[in-house]
C-alpha cells in the first residue's frame, strides 16, 4: 500500500511541475505591468525601478522562475503585491473558508446522491425511478452559476430565508459562540447547495447504475437464499460493492468543486480561494497566482490520491492487482 502511494506521488510530481511552468510562462509572457497599481506617475522612475528590483521583476524570466521554485521548495511563496503580505499567510486565511464550503458540499452530495440512487433502485422501473433518472441527467448538466443564481433569487431574495452573501452577518462578532455557528451555517447552506447539486445528481446516476449491477449478482442471491435479512443484504453486501465507483467520481469531483468554487464564491461573495485566485489573476498579482496554482494543483492531486486509497480500502481486488 505504501509503495502504491509513493508511486502515485512520484508520478504526480511532473504533472505539478508542468502545471506551474505553464502558469508561470503565461503570466510572465503576457503584456501588462503588475506594479502599475502601485506606481503612480508621480513616483520618480528611480523609485519605480527600485520597487521592480525589490520584487525581482527586473531579472530574466528563467532566473525568476528558478528563484521562485527554489524559494517555494523552502516554503517561501513570496509576497503578494495586492495584499502586501506573504502569499502563504494570505492563502492560509482564505483556504479554510473554501475547505469548509467544499466539505459541506461533499457531505450534501454524498448524502443526497446515495439516497436518491438507492430510492431509485428500490422502486426500479416505477415512475419514481424514471423521474430520478431523468431529473439527474438534466440537473447534472446545469451550469453551476445558474444554479447559484436561482438559489439566490428564490431563497435569498424571493423567500428571504437565507442571507445572500458573505460568511457572517455584520453584527456576528458580538454574538455568543452557538449563535455565531448558526449564523455561519445559514450563510453556508446556499453556496454549498449551489456547488453540490450537480455533483449529487452525478453520484445518484452512478450509484443507481452500479447498484443495479450489484443487485442481481450471485452473492446477493446466495445471501438471500441463506435467509439474511434484506436490510443486512443492502448494507453489508450491496452498498460496499456499489459504492466503489462513487468514490472514483468523488475523486474526480475535487477538480469540479474547485471550478464550482470559483463561480459560486463570486455569486455569494464567499471569501475563499476561488475568488482570491480570480482577483489575483485580474490584479496581475504574480506571486499570489502562482501560490493559488500550486495549492489547487496539490489539492487536485491529493484528492485523486485519497480517492484511489479509499477505493483500495473498499475493493480488495484493486490492492491485489496493484
Amino acid at each position: 500500500m505504501a509503495r502504491l502511494v509513493a508511486k502515485r506521488i512520484v508520478s504526480a510530481i511532473p504533472l505539478l511541475f508542468g502545471l506551474l511552468t505553464i502558469v508561470f510562462l503565461i503570466s510572465r509572457l503576457a503584456p501588462g505591468d503588475p506594479l502599475a497599481h502601485f506606481i503612480s506617475p508621480k513616483i520618480s522612475p528611480q523609485v519605480a525601478e527600485e520597487l521592480r528590483k525589490q520584487f525581482g521583476l527586473d531579472q530574466p524570466i528563467l532566473i525568476q522562475y528558478v528563484s521562485w521554485l527554489t524559494n517555494a521548495l523552502k516554503g517561501d511563496l513570496g509576497t503578494s503585491f495586492s495584499h502586501q503580505r506573504p502569499v502563504a499567510k494570505v492563502i492560509l486565511t482564505f483556504l479554510p473558508n473554501t475547505a469548509l464550503l467544499a466539505a459541506a458540499a461533499i457531505v450534501i452530495e454524498v448524502i443526497v446522491g446515495l439516497f436518491l440512487g438507492s430510492v431509485a433502485v428500490r422502486c426500479y422501473g416505477s415512475w419514481l425511478d424514471k423521474l430520478v433518472a431523468n431529473t439527474t441527467l438534466v440537473v447534472y448538466t446545469l451550469p453551476t452559476f445558474w444554479v447559484g443564481f436561482l438559489l439566490l433569487t428564490i431563497f435569498a431574495y424571493g423567500l428571504q430565508l437565507f442571507p445572500s452573501s458573505l460568511m457572517y452577518s455584520v453584527d456576528s462578532e458580538s454574538l455568543p459562540a452557538l449563535d455565531r455557528a448558526i449564523d455561519l451555517l445559514k450563510h453556508l447552506i446556499l453556496p454549498a447547495c449551489a456547488i453540490a447539486i450537480s455533483g449529487a445528481a452525478a453520484i445518484a446516476r452512478y450509484f443507481r447504475s452500479s447498484l443495479l449491477k450489484v443487485q442481481n449478482s450471485e452473492y446477493v442471491t446466495a445471501a438471500r437464499s441463506l435467509g439474511v435479512t434484506e436490510r443486512k443484504i443492502f448494507f453489508c453486501y450491496q452498498l460496499p460493492n456499489a459504492v466503489a465507483p462513487v468514490i472514483t467520481i468523488l475523486g474526480l469531483e475535487i477538480g469540479t468543486l474547485l471550478t464550482g468554487a470559483i463561480v459560486t464564491e463570486t455569486i455569494f461573495s464567499w471569501p475563499g480561494m476561488g475568488r482570491l485566485a480570480v482577483l489575483a489573476i485580474l490584479a496581475r498579482d504574480y506571486p499570489l497566482v502562482m501560490g493559488c496554482t500550486l495549492i489547487s494543483g496539490v489539492v487536485v492531486i491529493v484528492g485523486n490520491l485519497v480517492a484511489d486509497f479509499l477505493y483500495a480500502r473498499v475493493d480488495p481486488r484493486v490492492r491485489v492487482v496493484s
Binding site: 508542468g18 447534472y140 448538466t141 443564481f149 439566490l152 463561480v263 494543483g297
Partner: protein
C-alpha cells in the same frame, strides 16, 4: 404528440413569418436584389455592400431555406397518392438527411441553430437600442412601450437610389429599413398616439437595467454563444483528433509524451486555466475561441487514441499496410471513416462543455464583453439587480440551461445509439 411536431413547427414558422414580415421581407428582397443591381446597373458596389447588411442577408437566406425545406417536406407528404391525415408519419426521417433521428434534444438543438442563424430577423428590437433610461429601465415582462424608429443618418441613404429606376429605388428603401434598426424606446403612458408618434410595442420578456429588450438580447446572445461554442468545438475536435491519431498510430515514447500532456491538462480544473489565459492574454472573441479549444481537446484525444489503438491491429489495416499503402493513405481511407462516429459523439459532448465554459467566463466578466450580449454576461450583469428585477437574469439562464442540457442529452443518445462507450 411526436406525430404533430412537424405540422406544429410548420405552423409556428408561418405565423412567425407573418409576424416578422416587416423585417423578413426587406431582408429577402435585399438579398435577392443586390446581386441583380450589382450586375445590371452601373452603381458602385460600395453603396450596396454595407457591413451591417450582411447579417440580414445570411438570416434571410436561412429563413428562405427553412421555408423551402419545411414546405417541400410538407407537400411531399401531403401530395402523395391516396393521402390520409391519420396515417401520415410526420416524424419519419426525411431521406438524405445525414443525422440519425434522435430524441427531442436533437430538435431543440436544431431550433437553437435556427435562432442563431436568423437572429436579426427573429429579435423584435436591436439588442443594443435604448431610450430614456429613467422611464424604460426594468420594464416588467409583457409591459408596453412606445417605440420611435431611429432617424437614418443621411450618408446611409444614397441619393442615387432616389433618382434611378424602380428596382434600385426599391433596394434603397429596403436597405434603409434594414439599417435603421436602432429604435428609440419611450415608456407607454396610456395616452393615445398621433400619426407620427411611433408605435406601441410589447416587451415580451421585459427590459434590463439600460432599457434594452431582454428577448432581443437573448436571441443575439444565443447567436454569439453558439458561434463561439461551435468554432471552439471545431478547433478542439481537430486538435484532439490530431493528437489522438498521432499518439495511437505512432505509439512508443511519442504516445507516452502526448498522453502525459493530456493528463497534465486534464489534471487541472480547466476554468482556472481558461481564466488565467484570458485574463493575461486579453479577451477578443478569436482568442476566446483559441483558449477554449486549447483547454478542451483532451477528452477527444483520449477517445480517438483508444479507438485508433483498437483499429490499428485489425485485419483490414494490416492488409492495407501489406499492400504498401502509406500512413497518410491508411489514416485517410481506413482509420478516419471508422473513427468518425466517435468524433461526432465527442463533438456533441464538447459543444455542451464549451458553451458552458464560455458562459461561465462571460458570467465572471472575462468572456464576451458588453455591450455585445452573451447568455453568460447577461446573467452576470443581472446579478446586481437580482433582488428587484428577476427577469433580466432568469430568462437567459433558462435558455442557456436548455441549450446545454439538450446538447448533453443529444450526446447521451448518440452514445446510446452507437453504444461506442460502455
Amino acid at each position: 404528440m411526436r406525430r404533430l411536431l412537424f405540422p406544429i413547427g410548420l405552423l409556428v414558422f408561418v405565423l412567425l413569418t407573418i409576424q416578422r414580415w416587416g423585417i423578413v421581407h426587406p431582408s429577402v428582397v435585399s438579398l435577392g436584389l443586390t446581386p441583380v443591381v450589382l450586375l445590371f446597373t452601373k452603381l458602385e458596389s460600395q453603396h450596396l455592400l454595407k457591413a451591417g447588411l450582411v447579417e440580414y442577408w445570411v438570416a434571410g437566406l436561412f429563413w428562405l431555406a427553412t421555408g423551402v425545406f419545411l414546405t417541400k417536406r410538407f407537400l411531399g407528404l401531403v401530395l402523395s397518392r391516396n393521402w390520409r391525415w391519420r396515417e401520415t408519419d410526420f416524424s419519419a426521417r426525411p431521406r438524405g438527411l445525414l443525422v440519425p433521428r434522435l430524441n427531442a434534444s436533437y430538435t431543440v438543438l436544431m431550433l437553437f441553430a435556427f435562432v442563431a442563424l436568423t437572429a436579426p430577423l427573429l429579435s423584435p428590437f436591436s439588442p443594443t437600442s435604448q431610450g430614456d433610461l429613467i422611464t424604460t429601465r426594468f420594464l416588467k415582462p409583457f409591459e408596453r412601450g412606445v417605440v420611435f424608429p431611429a432617424s437614418v443618418p443621411l450618408d446611409q441613404v444614397e441619393p442615387a437610389f432616389l433618382t434611378s429606376s424602380g428596382m434600385v429605388r426599391l433596394l434603397g428603401r429596403v436597405n434603409t429599413r434594414l439599417l435603421s434598426r436602432d429604435e428609440r424606446i419611450v415608456r407607454f403612458g396610456g395616452q393615445p398616439l398621433g400619426a407620427n408618434e411611433g408605435q406601441i410595442r410589447i416587451f415580451l420578456l421585459g427590459t434590463d437595467n439600460l432599457g434594452r429588450d431582454v428577448l432581443s438580447r437573448i436571441v443575439y446572445g444565443t447567436r454569439i454563444s453558439l458561434a463561439v461554442g461551435f468554432a471552439a468545438m471545431c478547433c478542439a475536435i481537430v486538435l484532439g483528433s490530431i493528437v489522438g491519431l498521432i499518439a495511437g498510430l505512432l505509439g512508443g515514447w511519442v504516445d507516452r509524451l502526448l498522453m502525459r500532456l493530456t493528463d497534465l491538462f486534464l489534471a487541472f480544473p480547466s476554468l482556472f486555466l481558461i481564466i488565467a489565459l484570458v485574463a493575461f492574454l486579453g479577451n477578443s472573441i478569436f482568442l476566446l475561441v483559441g483558449v477554449l479549444a486549447i483547454t478542451g481537446w483532451m477528452g477527444v484525444a483520449r477517445l480517438i487514441r483508444g479507438e485508433v489503438l483498437l483499429l490499428r491491429d485489425r485485419e483490414f489495416v494490416l492488409a492495407a499496410r501489406l499492400l504498401g499503402r502509406s500512413s497518410v493513405q491508411i489514416i485517410r481511407d481506413h482509420m478516419l471513416p471508422n473513427v468518425l462516429p466517435t468524433i461526432l459523439l465527442a463533438s456533441v459532448l464538447q459543444l455542451g462543455n464549451v458553451v458552458l465554459a464560455e458562459a461561465a467566463l462571460s458570467f465572471l466578466g472575462l468572456g464576451i464583453q458588453p455591450p455585445t450580449p452573451s447568455l453568460g454576461n447577461m446573467i452576470g450583469e443581472s446579478l446586481a439587480y437580482v433582488g428587484s428585477a428577476w427577469w433580466v437574469g432568469v430568462f437567459p439562464g433558462v435558455v442557456l440551461s436548455a441549450l446545454v442540457v439538450s446538447a448533453n442529452v443529444a450526446a447521451e443518445s448518440v452514445q446510446k445509439a452507437s453504444s461506442l462507450l460502455p
